[in-house]
Point group: C2
Chain length 274, copies 2
């Protein structure tokens, strides 16, 4: 995919996002990762925020080549962030899989429960299903052109460690950066997902034909405001949060509880025919 | 929402799915749950398979009342399964939240890694974020009109236990049913999510204008075919699988590993200005 000069293999880095290829965040992410290797951007043509792990099965996907530059190949597709990862793996990385996948920089937080709605993190989770070290980056700023300086500098520190150490199979990183100038950021903390929910406040309106419709709005409700080891806590205290995320959703402690319900001793057919 | 006869409160059950309100699976699910309480169906107008935890933020949602019947109220919305749950909670269950949420019966498996792409399971996960006992049901049959007899009978056994015992906060159930006649189903097993991935085989075609496009296809790759405690294993051996699923994606064992990278001792600004 890239010419190897003098037989030296530079790391191959796949970049994607969920805000679409025109977002300032993906430009900042390319800048962050360029010093580490050859970059292939495969991003959605449009914004796909809140698309979670959605895949496109009803319409066919198209892969468009955009303008390449030195060390950076650029493609877009008419699909979700997860589609981008899958199609890139299948059609672009045919000889060699990427050494790293990065997604973002998202315009807005993906801490706490927001992770499950996030297209940014879905792309990172999909990357780790290919056993590729994967990181999602999110800046807690919804501005279209925020200051990415701290995200880029701290992001490179995390990237270096990931390239040096790897991440365990079935695990990826959720990195969130507070909206602070560089000098106010206190550092990095390895944390856990805060327990919380989005409380929905739909805004009800009526269209000119008299039919009601609803816009999704909402606010975050923190269910453990006193915890001091969560992503929310450290972000609120001026730190960048790194949460290791897994694809196994099994609640192991609940297995034993449910086994006590005695479901495993029931056979409907045998009971009816004894 | 329902008249309480003689002051007796019947359980209030929210039913949804990701195959759309016309699917045979949701009809079977209503039949399964009707004996347990009053039923409110809020389902997508169209099929939303593979939509995962996607939410609709670009277009407004509309809630349509359909034909009610004795003990069953019926609504549809132009959104995803998660939208259905959120809008139902906000607009329909204003006085009293449901006592139970059930999603499905999905036409096709949601075992192993399929759970993260599944709209059926996303609705169940969203339900448990409202602290409502929630269950997703999936029959491993992609037929439009499969035999739901075993799903309904065994589903009722599981439902009864959930109504009697509850499910821990932040946890819901992923129930998968093998494609077997009642007499061949051996029973129920409480299991864990099998490690596996979908390997993508995109089918590449060329449209009449000479432009390439891709259809997502793919096959399941089981990463632990020898494990004997997974959903895949028990389904393949004629059992219904029940996996307790959690919303906390933190990989706790990985936290300690990553702490050893020494990220927590770095402050970029302080180092540049010392």
């Amino acid at each position: 995919m890239f010419e190897e000069k003098g037989g030296v293999k530079r790391p191959l880095i796949l970049v994607t996002n969920d805000d679409g290829y025109k977002a300032a965040g993906i430009e900042a992410l390319v800048e962050m990762v360029k010093p580490f290797g050859n970059v292939v951007v495969v991003a959605p043509e449009e914004g796909y925020s809140g698309m979670s792990h959605a895949i496109t099965i009803k319409v066919p996907l198209r892969l468009k080549q955009r303008k390449h530059s030195e060390g950076v190949k650029f493609y877009t597709i008419n699909g979700t962030p997860v589609d981008c990862v899958k199609l890139a793996m299948s059609q672009l990385f045919t000889n060699r899989l990427p050494d790293l996948l990065v997604s973002g920089i998202n315009h807005g937080s993906n801490s706490s429960i927001s992770i499950i709605y996030s297209g940014t993190m879905a792309a990172a989770i999909e990357g780790c299903l290919y056993n590729i070290p994967s990181i999602g980056f999110s800046l807690l700023d919804y501005d279209e052109n925020p200051d990415f300086e701290a995200s880029i500098e701290y992001g490179r520190i995390i990237l270096k460690q990931v390239l040096d150490n790897g991440i365990s199979r079935g695990c990826c990183l959720n990195v969130n950066i507070p909206v602070l100038p560089m000098k106010s950021i206190k550092g990095i903390r390895v944390t856990r997902q805060n327990k919380g929910t989005w409380r929905e406040e739909f805004e009800k309106r009526t269209d000119p034909r008299g039919v009601d419709y609803y816009w999704l709005t909402g606010y975050f409700h923190n269910e453990e405001p006193d915890a001091t080891d969560t992503d929310e806590y450290w972000l609120n205290n001026g730190y960048i949060s790194v949460v290791p995320v897994q694809v196994d959703l099994t609640n192991y402690s609940e297995i034993d509880k449910i086994k006590k319900w005695n479901l495993e001793n029931i056979n409907v057919y045998a009971e009816k025919n004894k």
